[in-house]
Structure formats: structure tokens, C-alpha cells
């Protein structure tokens, strides 16, 4: 198990390294060669003089050869900005001010703030949305999927299948807007958008702001997961070991949950980890529909404004989320499924 864990961690680190290379190539050389948006020109502003652009190039380190730029990017990603970075980016600031201005992921062109801090300030929204959404889709899809697998072709199952189809084909922005119109505008049940930070003393404002977006986000996932749970349960219930359990004298509940469900759960665990990892990188459509200032809207804004460090920072952050989620899932699966540990 320890060797397995170490192997997974090494694998994760090499994936992240590969992503950094891809991010660097896309946002560095490709951007500078293949488009008319030179980062230095964007940073310097619309009416900048050539000498100003050149100075900015020096500050950002864009005058150095690419391999050196990549080396600096990796060093900064792992160790944080060093003294030279700080002197270039924030020559006249104190240490604390400088931390606000530049971080592991560099400095935003647009906001002139550390990309780390920018992402960190959006984490609460994005994580809350992902967790509330995940809670909703898991707590609906699993019972629904199991029940319809237990009674295939029953009325309940047929209705479920229809709802799965609807849920999977309704676009998030459409469902979100309709929900907003009826539940926040004509009937003022929920707030029309925005976010309130979570507080232990009063969790309701936080939750009420997240219920509509959570449901909207969960809609497609609910449909997908219900379909997967249904299929997995149908398969598992047809397995020989389920018949063995019945032949031993196990009751229906025990057979279904102890023997079939645990096996049906294995692919769901994998997928859930990946989806959560993906959502921690931001849910762009849902955030846009409900005016949530999460990582998704951060990345959209940054992309519109050619804010290269922020965009590449969000991409890296999302990649790290997915890799970490993958590792967690792999370790979790090894606990649930004994067959995985050996290889």
C-alpha cells in the first residue's frame, strides 16, 4: 500500500510537471510568436511607448531566453518568488505588501495582485458551490439509481429514464435562468444571486445563496450519476456472487446493499473524484448565471482581458486540483476494491 501510494504521488507530480510545460508553451512562446498580443504590451497598457514596453519586458523577465523563463516559472511555482523577483516586481514595498503583489503563480496584469491571492479569494465560493452541488447530486442520484435498478421497466424506472434524458439535455444557463426567474424573481424564495461567506453561527445565508446554483450545477450530474448507478446496479445484481448471497439465505436488503451496491459503487467513486476535481477548478456557466465570483468567473475575466499570468495560474490550479482528486480517488479505490492493491 505504501509503495502504491508513493507511485501514485510520483505519477501526480510528473503530470503536473507536464502541465506546467504545456501552460508555459501556450502562454509564453505560442502567445508571443503566433499572435499580436505580446504580454509586455498588454501589461504596459494601450498607449505605451516602445521604451516602456521594453522596460516591462525586463521587469517580467520576458527578455530572457525561453528555457530560462521556464526555469524561473518552475522555481517560483515550487519555492515562491525569490529576492530578485521581488526587487523587480515590488521594489519599493515592504515584505507584507510584496506578498500581496506577487506569489507562486506570478502577478496579475489586470489587477496587479498576486495570482495566488486572487485564486485564494475565490476558493470559498467555488468550493462551496462544488460541495453543495455534489451533495445534492449524490443524495438524489444514488437512491434514484438504486431504486430504478431494483425495479427495471417499472413506472418509477421509466419516469426516471425520462428525467435523466431531460436533465442531461437541459443547458445549465437555461435551467439556471428559469429557476432564477421563478424562484428568485417572481417568488422571492431565494436570493437572486451573489454569495455570503459561511459562518458556523448562521449557515442559512450561505446555504440559501448556494441552493439554486447548487441545483443548477447538480442537474446534469444527477442525471449522469443516476444513469450510471442504475446501470452499475443492474450489472451487479446480475452477477453470480449476488446469486450466491441469496443462496446463502441473505435477505433482499442485505443482498442489494452489502453485495451488489458496494461493487456498483466502484466506478462511481472514480468518476466522482474526477468531477469534484474538475469543479474545484471553477464552474464557469453556473458562476456566470448566478453572478458568483468564483474561480470560473476569474478565469473567464482573465481570458477576456489577456491577463496571461492569471489565466495560466487558473489553468495550473485546475490541473493540480484534478491530479490531487485523482490521487485521492486512487487511494480510496484501493481501500474499497482489494483487487487494485496488488498491481
Amino acid at each position: 500500500m505504501i509503495r502504491y501510494t508513493i507511485r501514485r504521488l510520483l505519477w501526480g507530480a510528473s503530470v503536473i510537471l507536464a502541465v506546467t510545460l504545456a501552460v508555459f508553451v501556450l502562454f509564453g512562446p505560442v502567445l508571443q510568436w503566433k499572435s499580436n498580443v505580446e504580454p509586455a504590451r498588454i501589461y504596459a497598457g494601450k498607449n505605451a511607448q516602445p521604451e516602456q514596453i521594453e522596460r516591462v519586458s525586463k521587469i517580467l523577465g520576458l527578455d530572457k531566453p525561453f528555457y530560462e523563463q521556464y526555469g524561473i516559472m518552475i522555481r517560483r511555482l515550487v519555492l515562491g518568488p525569490n529576492q530578485a523577483d521581488k526587487e523587480r516586481m515590488c521594489p519599493n514595498s515592504t515584505e507584507a505588501e510584496c506578498d500581496e503583489l506577487i506569489g507562486h503563480l506570478g502577478q496579475s496584469f489586470e489587477k496587479r495582485r498576486s495570482v495566488d491571492k486572487l485564486i485564494f479569494s475565490r476558493l470559498g465560493v467555488t468550493f462551496s458551490l462544488a460541495l453543495v452541488g455534489a451533495f445534492i447530486w449524490i443524495s438524489i442520484s444514488i437512491p434514484v439509481g438504486v431504486l430504478s435498478a431494483l425495479r427495471p421497466r417499472s413506472i418509477f424506472d421509466r419516469i426516471t429514464v425520462v428525467f435523466i434524458l431531460i436533465g442531461q439535455s437541459l443547458p445549465v444557463y437555461y435551467f439556471g435562468l428559469v429557476a432564477l426567474y421563478f424562484l428568485a424573481y417572481t417568488n422571492k424564495i431565494f436570493p437572486p444571486g451573489g454569495y455570503m461567506a459561511f459562518q458556523w453561527s448562521e449557515p442559512w445565508p450561505w446555504l440559501s445563496h448556494l441552493l439554486l446554483p447548487g441545483f443548477t450545477l447538480a442537474l446534469q450530474f444527477t442525471a449522469l450519476y443516476a444513469r450510471l448507478v442504475r446501470g452499475g446496479m443492474l450489472d451487479a445484481l446480475g452477477e453470480d456472487y449476488v446469486r450466491t448471497a441469496r443462496a446463502k439465505g441473505a435477505g433482499e436488503t442485505r443482498t442489494v446493499f452489502k453485495h451488489a451496491f458496494r461493487n456498483a459503487l466502484l466506478p462511481i467513486v472514480t468518476l466522482f473524484g474526477l468531477d469534484i476535481g474538475l469543479l474545484f477548478g471553477g464552474a464557469i456557466l453556473t458562476e456566470a448565471t448566478f453572478g458568483l465570483q468564483g474561480i470560473g468567473s476569474l478565469s473567464v475575466d482573465a481570458a477576456y482581458r489577456f491577463d496571461v499570468p492569471t489565466t495560466s495560474g487558473v489553468v495550473l490550479f485546475s490541473a493540480i486540483c484534478i491530479v490531487v482528486a485523482n490521487i485521492v480517488v486512487d487511494l480510496l479505490l484501493a481501500v474499497v476494491d482489494p483487487r487494485i492493491r496488488l498491481d
Partner: protein, 341 residues
């Protein structure tokens, strides 16, 4: 009265193409301690018969009628709860494929102990695991204490079938149903498992219903034989009678296709043709289309069904005298098959 008595059992599957009567009027009985072989080719309904008796078929897709009395109770009409108490405790089953019959995510020990504790709520965990260890030892698994902690994928097919047998016998059932327990195993393992079943049969007093298509196994293991064809019993008799005085043309075909008889011949004999579709079974004798001795009556009249199992019974229109002369021709085979191998 027999321990397990099946009368006129009929099992119908509802398929998209129509109703298929996979078991059509099967009757036989098993006495305490007896080994009964159910023989027939694939699809003849031998497995379905036993699954029906244990009520392990989906009630949504199939229906079973008739009577299956076990220890004075009709298995087909008792409530589910009562049936669950019988399953695994009084009647237990070994399945064909040990590779898929054990749950891959639970340890062997947990699965064996489950069989025990489902029927004995009072037994402690420790005692249950001790008992499971004894059972693993009894079925010939080395270092049973460690093996309890193994997962199914860590064991070979033969070992897994031993685990299945241990699980089936842990409650000392009155009837053990072995549904082709050696089919999925290689030949040397097959012999070991058969030897094990024979040995355990003496230690545990269970009656055994042995489903197989291997007449060689029948000759070695069984007391009584029930030959099935296309959902019906065509012949049933004590094992010596089947080999020395086979009465049904299908039984002749089965005996004729045993490999031992054809030493020196190039091709193995096989019964020509294939079984009829059960979606639309023939009105007369179901074996007629493949029978070398078919007569005109076979086409219109089904032969009398076998209801009485006290002695040698056969469902065939052929003249008994003719059948006896044919049977003599097979005695030599019987001698060869029953030689110890």
C-alpha cells in the same frame, strides 16, 4: 417419504419472443443421504430445475408451478422469510463458476462466516471464524487461518471452488446442490474437487443433487440418475440400471458419445441434430427429430411422463422388448466407464 420430492415442476420464462417453458413437468425425488445425478446437455433445464426449487429465479421474469416438497414443506408456496431460512441452512448450493461466484470485494472469511451467521445469530464472531477455519481445513485448503483473510482474486479456481464448498457445507445442510461444480476447472482440479465431494459426502450426511453432463462423473458418484431432455425427464433409474440397462434412445446417445467407447475410432460419436426450440416445442416426443427409432406415434403423442421414481422409469413409445435388446449393446460401455480411472 423422500427428503426432497419434486412433482410436475414447470418453469416458464417470459422473454421478448414469448413464453419459454424451460422446465416442463419434471418429477424426481431425493432420499436423505442419497446422491442423485441430473444429466443432460446444455439448455435441457437441469440448472433451471434446481434454481426453481430454491426460488433463485427472478419472479418478474419467470414463473414456477408444480410441487417441490422438502421435509414436508412445499418450497414453492412457503413465505419468502421461511424460504430464506431454508436456503444455505437446509439446502445449499455450489455454483458452476467459482471465479464469479464469490464477491470480489470481501475477504473469504467474511463470506463464509456470513453463511454461518445468517442462520445462527447467537454465535460469536470469534467462534464463527474458528468454525470457518475448520471448514477450510476440511475442504483441504492449506493454512486456513491465513486464507480467511484472503480475497477471492488471490486464490486459484480450484481453491475458490473449495471455498464455495466450505461455505455451502458450513451449516451441515440436508441437501447440497452441486451445479456442474467442476465444469469451469481444469481436468486435474476437477478430479480433486470430485474426490473432495465424495469424501465430504461421507463426513457430512447431506444428500447431494449433482447436476452434470458428464456420465463418467455420474458413474463414480451417484446413486440415482435423472436424464433430462428439452425440459422433460426422459429416463430415471438407479445408476447401475442406467449403465447396464439404458432404456431411452437419448440415454443411448449420451452413453454412445462417451469418449471411452471410441478408442481407435477417428471421430467421437454425437447425437445428430440439436434440441428443439422451447418457444415452440413439438407436440409429440421432443426427442423424435433426433431419434433413430422414431415412429409415427412419436410425432403426435407425447410419451407418458415419469411420475413414479421408485424404480427404473422411461418416457418413450418404443416397445419394451426392443429397448431391452438395444440396452444389451451398451453393457460393455458401462463396464468400461465404471472401471476405476
Amino acid at each position: 417419504m423422500a427428503l426432497l420430492e419434486v412433482k410436475d415442476l414447470q418453469t416458464t420464462f417470459f422473454t421478448d419472443d414469448g413464453a419459454v417453458r424451460a422446465v416442463d413437468g419434471v418429477s424426481f425425488s431425493v432420499e436423505a443421504g442419497q446422491v442423485v445425478g441430473i444429466v443432460g446437455e446444455s439448455g435441457c433445464g437441469k440448472s433451471v430445475t434446481m434454481l426453481s426449487i430454491m426460488r433463485l429465479l427472478s419472479a418478474r421474469h419467470s414463473a414456477t408451478t408444480g410441487m417441490a416438497s422438502f421435509d414436508g414443506e412445499d418450497l414453492l408456496s412457503i413465505p419468502n422469510k421461511k424460504m430464506r431460512e431454508i436456503r444455505g441452512k437446509q439446502i445449499s448450493k455450489i455454483f458452476q463458476d467459482p471465479m464469479t461466484s464469490l464477491n470480489p470485494v470481501y475477504r473469504i472469511g467474511v463470506q463464509i462466516v456470513e453463511a454461518l451467521r445468517l442462520h445462527d445469530k447467537a454465535i460469536s464472531r470469534v467462534a464463527a471464524f474458528d468454525r470457518a477455519e475448520q471448514m477450510l481445513a476440511a475442504v483441504g485448503i492449506p493454512s486456513p487461518r491465513e486464507r480467511l483473510r484472503s480475497y477471492p482474486h488471490e486464490l486459484s479456481g480450484g481453491m475458490r471452488q473449495r471455498v464455495m464448498i466450505a461455505m455451502a457445507l458450513i451449516n451441515d445442510p440436508k441437501v447440497l446442490i452441486a451445479d456442474e461444480p467442476t465444469t469451469a476447472l481444469d481436468v486435474t482440479t476437477q478430479a480433486q474437487i470430485l474426490e473432495l465431494i465424495r469424501k465430504l459426502r461421507n463426513e457430512f450426511s447431506s444428500a447431494v443433487v449433482f447436476i452434470t453432463h458428464d456420465l463418467g462423473v455420474v458413474a463414480e458418484l451417484c446413486d440415482e440418475v435423472v436424464v433430462m431432455y428439452a425440459g422433460k425427464v426422459v429416463e430415471s433409474a438407479p445408476v447401475d440400471e442406467i449403465f447396464e440397462n439404458p432404456q431411452h434412445p437419448y440415454t443411448w446417445g449420451l452413453l454412445g458419445s462417451l469418449p471411452g467407447r471410441n478408442l481407435g475410432n477417428d471421430r467421437l460419436y454425437s447425437v445428430p441434430g440439436s434440441p428443439p426450440s422451447l418457444l415452440d416445442p413439438p407436440t409429440g416426443c421432443r426427442f423424435m427429430a433426433r431419434c433413430a427409432h422414431a415412429m409415427s406415434i412419436c410425432e403426435t403423442e407425447p410419451p407418458l411422463e415419469i411420475l413414479d421414481h421408485s424404480e427404473h422409469a422411461v418416457a418413450c413409445h418404443l416397445d419394451p422388448g426392443f429397448r431391452t435388446t438395444q440396452a444389451i449393446a451398451f453393457r460393455s460401455i458401462a463396464n468400461r466407464v465404471q472401471e476405476p480411472r
